[in-house]
């Protein structure tokens, strides 16, 4: 029975007021009657049906209804208690009575204004339903299935555009970064866990060089066993021994010309005899005139390369 509580438009109210006046008087009378009797009113089923039907048909907008209503009222007066079931209606009427009393003070002016201001009329029930449907639909919508989240539909396109732009920018930036990293890593290679043939060959070459040097060292230092080359005491003895060793080597050299120490000697400058110079047996290659001494080392290099992989140890 929601239709019972229907908001009535201004026109209705205006007309009702007058009716209400009558009604209020009636109600007062009725109430008095009601209280006075205090007995329970019996309502026939037929009557009840009829009442309901009439209530359904009731429309405050129509002028005719008012008459009906009035008839109702009069009817009600006869069958008091009929309203006891429809309490809401009754209370509303009572509220309306109060309103009427207030409006009585400024009746003439109010009437004209109200008519102008509120021209449209909507049923409360209809409004409620529409509102409910709208509200439900909003609640039903989950923000999850929309990528953008809850956004006013008008701006949806703009926001999507902006997001797409941002994404593309991010991508570009990431690519630039990656490229930079790649350039930075250019040439950087992680070695494999096993030794490939090239690495083995290189290790072999290095080993050969080390062995050559160590052998030369052992040969040179075998003459000065037990003496400390750094101390001045042993200096003379060492020099003597070295000289002897050198001369014995010279004697041998005529027989076998390939000697590691001899090579070092030979790579010096040709004009003066190498052992007489101060820097004998030291690094003889000077950077100063590297392009002037071409002939002697070249021959040597050829000899070396014929040995196999030539290696120079310093």
């Amino acid at each position: 029975m929601t239709e019972e509580t229907s908001i009535t438009g201004s026109g209705g109210i205006l007309r009702k007021r007058k009716i209400g006046k009558k009604k209020s008087n009636n109600a007062k009378k009725k109430m008095k009657v009601f209280q006075g009797t205090g007995e329970k009113v019996k309502v026939d089923r037929k009557m009840k049906k009829l009442f309901r039907k009439r209530v359904k048909e009731y429309n405050s907008d129509d002028d005719d209804d008012d008459d009906d209503n009035a008839a109702d009222k009069s009817f009600l007066n006869k069958n008091q208690g009929a309203y006891s079931e429809k309490n809401g209606y009754g209370t509303r009427k009572l509220g309306a009575d109060k309103l009427d009393e207030e409006s009585e003070l400024s009746e003439g002016e109010d009437d004209d204004e109200n008519i102008e201001v509120l021209p449209t009329v909507t049923k409360f029930a209809e409004g409620c339903r529409a509102f409910r449907i709208a509200f439900k639909s909003i609640i039903k919508k989950s923000a999850l299935d929309d990528v953008l989240g809850p956004i006013l539909s008008g701006q949806k396109k703009l926001v999507a555009q902006k997001l797409a732009e941002e994404e593309s920018e991010k991508k570009l930036r990431g690519e630039a970064k990656k490229e930079k990293l790649l350039i930075g890593e250019k040439g950087h290679i992680k070695p494999s866990n096993y030794l490939d043939s090239h690495e083995k060959f290189l290790i072999g070459v290095a080993t050969k060089g080390v062995v050559k040097l160590f052998n030369a060292v052992s040969k040179a230092q075998s003459t000065q066993k037990g003496l400390n080359p750094a101390s001045s005491k042993d200096e003379k003895v060492i020099k003597k021994r070295r000289k002897e060793a050198f001369f014995t080597a010279l004697g041998k050299r005529s027989a076998s010309s390939s000697d590691t120490s001899a090579k070092v000697v030979a790579s010096g400058e040709p004009p003066s005899w190498a052992p007489l110079r101060d820097n004998y047996m030291l690094t003889s290659c000077k950077l100063k005139d590297w392009d002037k001494m071409q002939e002697t080392p070249e021959d040597e290099d050829v000899g070396k390369s014929s040995h196999g992989s030539s290696s120079d140890d310093d």
Partner: protein, 346 residues
């Protein structure tokens, strides 16, 4: 505030004390070459690591913690190099094409520019090995250098040889201690590809004919695990697994003059074992300049003075186009003559 500053300055001046380390070897009396390793321009991460590795390689006669700033020019380094006795610069730089390494002799040059085709860091090399080796005093002595395959008689190669020989202190065969020879730098030139392989190894000597167990026992002085053995003699007699490189043992053996460590006794045979430390580089000599990063180009991989040649070509082309019109007539006449000659021959 003033006091604080004084303290700071003292800290900054400290490195000069290193000069005492000696610009001159006190046994042989040779000048000891020193080096700076630094970068020109901003380097990416791996190359900065490579720079650090190179500094470690150049130890002990290099500035390990050399700080460089963006505004430091080559002149700044040169000014410091004089009083510090620094003789060589190693400069790393990078372009979009590839990283480069310049090796220069300090006051006057020459400068060798190498293109680094490939490189691996020391950490990469260590990661690839099962048991990377790094004894405490590995970097306390300068490395030996072995140059191989440079004897092709070409000038720039000779210059490269000399440059790298002089970058490390010379070794006097009569006085050198074998215990100080811990590392070796190998430069191997490949004639066909014109690439130089740059490797860095640690040297280890092991007595020949001694099983690994006993060697370890002598080395570490730790009580061995005898749980699985029946008798003590088993520990000595039972042979362990064969050594990993038994094959070329003969070529890699050395007879020592003096004791070296606990395991290598004098006049006993020892095997030379090398293990890579890194960094590893494949270099290509691109250019040789007379001065320190300036001066005339002595050698260029892409032809001597490639740019000049290009200019000349352009000039000649322009001249040709001028002359062409004049010569056209005469050319035609020549052709006619030739034709007639041919006809006569037939």
């Amino acid at each position: 505030m003033a006091r604080f500053r004084d303290k700071k300055r003292k800290v900054f001046v400290k490195p000069i004390v290193q000069k005492k380390l000696g610009a001159v070897d006190h046994v042989t009396g040779d000048k000891i070459p020193k080096s700076f390793v630094f970068s020109r321009g901003k380097l990416p991460g791996p190359l900065r690591q490579l720079q650090m590795d190179l500094r470690k390689l150049m130890l002990p006669f290099t500035a390990l913690n050399l700080k460089e700033k963006k505004r430091n020019s080559l002149k700044d380094f040169l000014n410091v190099a004089g009083p510090m006795g620094v003789t060589h610069f190693l400069m790393l730089s990078k372009t979009d094409a590839s990283p480069y390494m310049k090796v220069a002799r300090t006051p006057q040059g020459p400068t060798l520019t190498f293109k680094i085709n490939k490189y691996s860091l020391a950490s990469d090399v260590a990661q690839s090995q099962l048991r990377p080796r790094c004894p405490k005093d590995l970097f306390k002595n300068p490395p030996l250098i072995v140059l191989s395959g440079f004897g092709t008689g070409e000038q720039h190669l000779k210059l490269t040889t000399i440059m790298f020989q002089n970058i490390f202190p010379a070794i006097d065969v009569n006085t050198v201690k074998l215990s100080s020879c811990q590392r070796i730098v190998l430069l191997n030139y490949n004639k066909d590809t014109k690439l130089i392989d740059f490797r860095h190894y640690s040297i280890r000597l092991q007595p020949v004919g001694v099983s690994r167990r006993i060697r370890k026992f002598v080395q570490n002085h730790q009580i061995p695990d005898l749980r699985n053995l029946q008798d003590v003699s088993d520990f000595v007699t039972r042979a362990g697994y064969g050594s990993e490189s038994e094959v070329d043992e003969e070529a890699a053996t050395v007879t020592l003059v003096s004791n070296l460590g606990r395991t290598n006794k004098a006049s006993s045979k020892s095997a030379v074992r090398l293990q890579e430390i890194g960094p590893r580089m494949t270099l290509q000599l691109v250019r040789v300049e007379e001065g320190l990063c300036t001066g005339g180009v002595i050698f260029s991989e892409y032809g001597y003075g490639a740019e000049k040649k290009l200019d000349k070509r352009e000039d000649s082309q322009i001249e040709d186009s001028d002359h062409e019109e004049d010569e056209d007539d005469s050319d035609n006449a020549d052709e006619m003559e030739e034709d007639t000659e041919n006809g006569n021959d037939d």
